[in-house]
Symmetry: D2
Subunit: 288 residues, 4 copies
């Protein structure tokens, strides 16, 4: 119901205080905006209020460019809010980083092509060039940036230049097998989404399916999270699991895990695109 052309979305978090919901919805209502959805949450342990509200701009009697300063003055400042405003006709631009595994890339691109994602994907970057044909299948540019321990710093610079030239808003690591540097992450804070092939925090790091098999777990999982400087420890966006048994070898775990990985990553990407994620204290709120 949040159509592409004329909807505004505000996400807020701030210390909890009386009256915030009323004040925010009043702001929209007084200017004749028709609220499409409100989702609100109070974390009573942390005394933190968070909210996502979207409204139809048709009939809203304030020019777009005035919304930000007005909201900041009357609500942002008094309530010490951190907040963002987006318009659904501003389609975010997404890049995908890959290595050799194709399943997540196919899943993302098939959704993209079928119109499920309201996003623009102009480029795929790979540290191997194996998946170049897949990107090409879908008519998307592919840039091969091989990386070694020695070349990492300069190659990451090249990647950032490419992202900037394509005006990329956020990056999806679709089983990209390189650890990003702190410097890279600083360029895209809360803007890099990874899929880790385990049920974090279990089996962080390399070869999680081997570790899961060795430990003899009965369920495997996958975790999509925002990338921070702490490896596999960023705010979790989405997780899911698959049941396994002693019949499953490591190879079977890898195969069954692929299905979980691609679904979990795509759900996380969709939540991000639709501005339904909010990060605080290394956790996420996922709004309805």
């Amino acid at each position: 119901m949040e159509n592409n052309e004329n909807t505004a979305i505000i996400k807020i978090h701030c210390p909890d205080q009386k009256g915030i919901v009323a004040r925010v919805t009043d702001f929209i209502n007084l200017h004749h905006g028709n609220i499409i959805s409100v989702d609100q949450h109070v974390d009573h342990e942390d005394n933190l209020f968070s909210m996502r509200v979207s409204w139809d701009l048709r009939g809203f009697n304030m020019p777009r460019e005035e919304i930000r300063p007005t909201f900041q003055k009357f609500l942002g400042d008094p309530y010490q809010m951190k907040w963002t405003l987006n318009f659904t006709d501003e389609v975010p631009r997404m890049a995908i980083f890959v290595s050799k595994a194709s399943h997540c890339l196919y899943d993302l691109l098939a959704r993209y092509q079928s119109g499920e994602f309201k996003v623009k994907i102009p480029v795929v970057i790979g540290n191997h060039n194996i998946l170049e044909p897949v990107a090409r299948q879908f008519g998307i540019d592919f840039v091969h940036i091989p990386i070694t321990a020695e070349t990492k710093a300069e190659q990451e610079k090249k990647e950032i230049e490419i992202l900037q030239s394509y005006k990329i808003d956020f990056v999806v690591l679709a089983r990209y097998m390189q650890v990003l540097s702190q410097d890279f992450i600083n360029h895209y804070p809360e803007k890099v989404i990874n899929i880790h092939h385990s049920f974090l925090p279990a089996f962080a790091g390399a070869r999680p399916y081997h570790a899961a098999h060795k430990r003899g777990v009965k369920i495997i999982g996958a975790t999509s999270h925002y990338v921070t400087s702490d490896l596999d420890a960023g705010p979790i966006i989405e997780q899911d699991i698959a049941r396994i048994s002693h019949h499953d070898s490591v190879k079977d775990l890898i195969q069954k895990g692929k299905d979980v990985e691609k679904i979990v990553l795509s759900r996380a990407v969709k939540a991000h695109i639709e501005r339904k994620t909010l990060v605080y204290k290394n956790r996420t709120i996922i709004f309805n």
Copy 2:
């Protein structure tokens, strides 16, 4: 966070119109109520607005007895709302109907005894007396009301008298194997919660596990719903499932199904007790 002593809960549904969220939250805010949670939903297909809001009454500057008429005048009437107001210190009174199977009864009573349910359970009614010792174990009255085709009408009258004498607010059918008459249901509209041992609408009616086995399904389920005059067709509150295989006989399905039934029923009862369910058009909204 909705404590037992001083919280008010309003549930609303009405035709969708501009400004309702703002008006409702304003109402609370202007009288110095501190909103604990807001959950709102618009069904755009049916143009139906629904909302649940709870607020702390400490500091709220309107006596309890004035809330209803005031809200009706300023909000209920203008917006054509159907709405209910509850206070969390008004503990609802619940009766349980049983036949022979004990698993749901044990699950409900163990939760009750451990304080999970904010409810009062003064009586269990059985058309068999097999489970009388279970009720007694927990110090709860048990009334045996045997029912045959011939005695049904009069026995149901007796049941209603018992419910009234115990001041029962709502009834939970914990694998009660009798179909309630229309007359009985009329006494407790949206106040009788059943657990059906299938994934409705599949396998409505008798012996669903036998039917499921015959059909060769790979997953079984259970469904908790409000009872209406239409058998197994009332508004669904909660469902869940369990995976099965060709190794499972009908007896295995019955056994595995029990775990799903008791968990699903208890979740539904909890949602009802916490005033998180709202029925419209034979469907439910389950608020956060």
Copy 3:
């Protein structure tokens, strides 16, 4: 562990009798076959024995062409077995039927391309030509066979000719929106796999997500089954589900359902390819 080159797989079902497992495994053992896996099941209600056994042909001292007659003589006949023998180096040939929805087709082809399926897919047939580019992306022939009520019989004949010319062993209906005739099905008994977008037997027939939304279920599902002349009533191979809420519109159900559909269909196809399915009494046994 059932490698591609030298493994034999026998699937058996017959009336349960003493000693079958011993006799079958003896047969393999006496001829120096190394058993890779045995999975056996007795349905005591139907007195039906079923078994799948695979063994390494390296060292097996009987020529391939003698296995069938020998097994039939010493085991098939005495125990009234229905049985099949396959060799893993005989790669089955699969056709995919599609209409307009791309998600299942993409999922199947991406797995095919990555080597997950030990199968050969030479052709995709569509009653619309919208997905021709997808087939072409993967280098697979696409044949457009439009169908109307009037042309159905002759067009199905054409389809069968195409399947025969491509030497197709089995057909996967990847959200193909035409009902196959009895005649077509007779050509491919237990060889046509469908995905139905509901948790069968709930919501058989057309527009299941609309029906699910109207009924207010809390969980949706998908079902993959062998096609029989009874619409949506064939033996179920695999099912899975996704949790939904009142926030989900019909459109959301359709979207969330796609993920379940593609995963369920691919699992069913994999089980079929690996000769792990056995049909009896309109049910399936899915071996390990």
Copy 4:
């Protein structure tokens, strides 16, 4: 189908070799035993064969007391098997250890009372006496053994004496909040079943729900495992999960986790009672 009175169950593991399945099933068949079920698994990575076979002793022409020595001579020795033989009329005796939380105890005892578990539970031991009334409700002895750091060694001795006096075969820790000493575990190797309230190996140790909440996971879990000297690191028998959201406080996690804990523990206990578990290399095989 494995009835209580006349079924034998053998569980085997040994290095994988040709012909084991045939030899074992022959052994039963030659003596006119009717095989009820066979489940076999080969771990090709570890070259380990494992098998569970059960057969009806009616008609089996070998006295019970000769089965063990005969099997050892003709199969155990030649194949270097580790194996166990059980008869279903030998009902195992189980003790339950508890602290303060009642949900697992209730779930176990309600199943016991309804006949789901083919077991005898003569005693519950608690380091607190809060749950004494629950045990008494079910007519089961309760022994209160308080434990402090200073008294632990002697109190554990007392526990072992009690277990011996009740002829206990295995122990279930139903949210027992004490760590057992190495000495205690040595008395009951692979005979102590614990439930840990996390999805191991994530959140081992104390206060896992607090840790899960802090980490911001989207799914919580529970793990039942055999207790070894390595805390929370023994062979996993069963795991399951529940989906959570940012709406859930630590208290909510604890509440939702209880449902998972009790179901997971009961499934593990059932598998153990039915001799369906086999431990090797700190992992379990769970037979059908």
